[in-house]
Symmetry: D3
Subunit: 134 residues, 6 copies
């Protein structure tokens, strides 16, 4: 592995059951220099988080994943595995459950949204987490 590969190895897990949106998000993160792991339902997302708990650096998740496990469940489990993991929720609905069911220090982005919003949110959360004493 070259050193320039190392710089590009920030792994973001995107959990999204809507294929066109997943594709747009994946493309935007890859253009922004991130590595991307995808899951199309909540159960797969939680399995990926457990399998890759050492390497996943951020979670972007739809709230309604079309599965029994919601994005709220995925994020809560992600934070049990890594209490400092940046979490960004995206949703096509109004996100009215986020104030009671979301995790602390998370960002909610409602559709329609531009890919830049999600990249910016993840970048900010990662940078804040890199700051001892902040």
């Amino acid at each position: 592995m070259t050193r320039s590969d190392m710089i590009l190895s920030v792994l973001v897990l995107i959990a999204e059951n809507d294929a066109p949106i997943l594709e747009i998000l994946q493309g935007a993160f890859e253009d922004g220099g991130f590595a991307v792991l995808v899951a199309s339902n909540g159960e797969d997302a939680m399995a990926e988080l457990e399998a890759k708990r050492e390497t996943v650096r951020a979670l972007v998740t739809d709230i309604d994943l079309g599965s029994k496990a919601t994005g709220f469940d995925v994020a809560r489990h992600a934070r049990e595995l890594n209490p400092e993991l940046p979490v960004v929720y995206v949703t096509g609905a109004d996100g009215h459950d986020w104030p009671s069911l979301g995790v602390p220090n998370s960002v909610l982005i409602t559709k329609p949204f531009a890919p830049s919003q999600v990249i910016t949110a993840v970048s900010q959360l990662l940078n804040a987490g890199n700051t001892p004493g902040a």
Copy 2:
């Protein structure tokens, strides 16, 4: 009711099962110009939140309330009743569950803490919530 009473009617619910700590917090908030409502376990706290849902403006809750309902349960229910309610958790333990079980835009304060920290946290959250477009 005089107008100077009105200015002093910001009602904070403090849920704390440790009587000396409750007393210190209550005194500090009253000195800071807040009105205070107290509850000594989780169930009472939730009952107060429902009874006073129109008037409670902020929640300060211990995480371990010595009751079946924890501070996490109280805060989640509080946000269902009022999605914008400021929430501050205090805890004598290390707060390791807060990243997965806390609500968004909440503050965690671990003991030992000075009363000023809790007043400052509640004041900041109230001021942020008073800011349309923020």
Copy 3:
């Protein structure tokens, strides 16, 4: 309309009377996944805001628009129509009037600036506005 169109429908109004700068900003926002509406003077900008008040999600405006209506006028009117609208001012001058004539929760960016600065500012303001209880 496909769902992937929906994700790309965050409409930003850019008010700028300097054609080359307008072109650069428009290109940068489109690359960032935003839809763009342009106006080359203050009056046109205000007319667009009224016509599209339901769909415009953010305003980027030069302060000096070469018209009777300045960027300050445009932003004030925009906030009357939508109190939560993100506002970013760009200016080739020093922005010394911004502290007295700008609107709350706005960002001032002075030239020279890189397009990334404007995208980042709009993305941050949009994300903050998507956060109930923040």
Copy 4:
């Protein structure tokens, strides 16, 4: 003048036409270690700002001052005199005009409020302004 006088010479102008509220605010700021200057209408507030432009370090103003000049007018004039002056608006109404008529980097506090909220807001704005490069 002793050095301990110097530390207590942070002068806050409070513009408030409601005498009981003015009294409460004045007392709270003095307890917090501030020096206080008061004005009971908009015109007096603006005259004080001009007379004391070198020494006033923060402005707390009601929006409706019962005078021709509103708190919005007072704050705008204050920022013309000192672009970095911390500004906090208090209001008994809902503050719906603040997003279009307020100044940047100001805080809106709606009644009922506790005095601690206003002290905290002024302290935070002063501390941010003391931070070169922030």
Copy 5:
């Protein structure tokens, strides 16, 4: 030790060679519910930090301490001992060296200041440090 003593055991080290200012600061922190340790020059401050490294929770230091060791030296040493220690500098001069000699995530407060500003700064930094994942 009672539990109400525990809540009051947040220890702040104040390094200040100006006795009247030290007295005002000490009184304000004690009123805010903090325990206070004082040092009147840089060398004493560093000795206290080493002796009490497990218990000091925040540092407030003048920049010019009238000793060979400045407040910048004290703060740097404090952060070597505890990378997350909240640091607030106060200064009677203009603080022009702070941007190059201060530590990250510190606050600069220039005289004249009100004691509330210092309490608020310390409280905010402590609360931020209590926030895993923030």
Copy 6:
């Protein structure tokens, strides 16, 4: 020089002794609309800062530059020349010296990182610095 050149003249100095990483960062900043100046060791970086003190608008520096002068030295010197210069440190190590040796209002980003994180950090710091009264 055309006006569209002007908009692209935000000059960022990148100090990095690792050629592949330097290349990735340079490409990302140029894609984001910045102009880039590079230095491959600490001494060259400081010479560039002095020669271009009027035009360099931000510094991105590795901490270990393989030279006598570290990134901490470069940043400290940069802030002596321009107290408001945005500073972002990147490091392949854990950054444990940053809390004591970094400058105020700087951001620490640890490898692996995505280029978007660095662009976002620089953009945020530039925008904050463009905000009088902030």
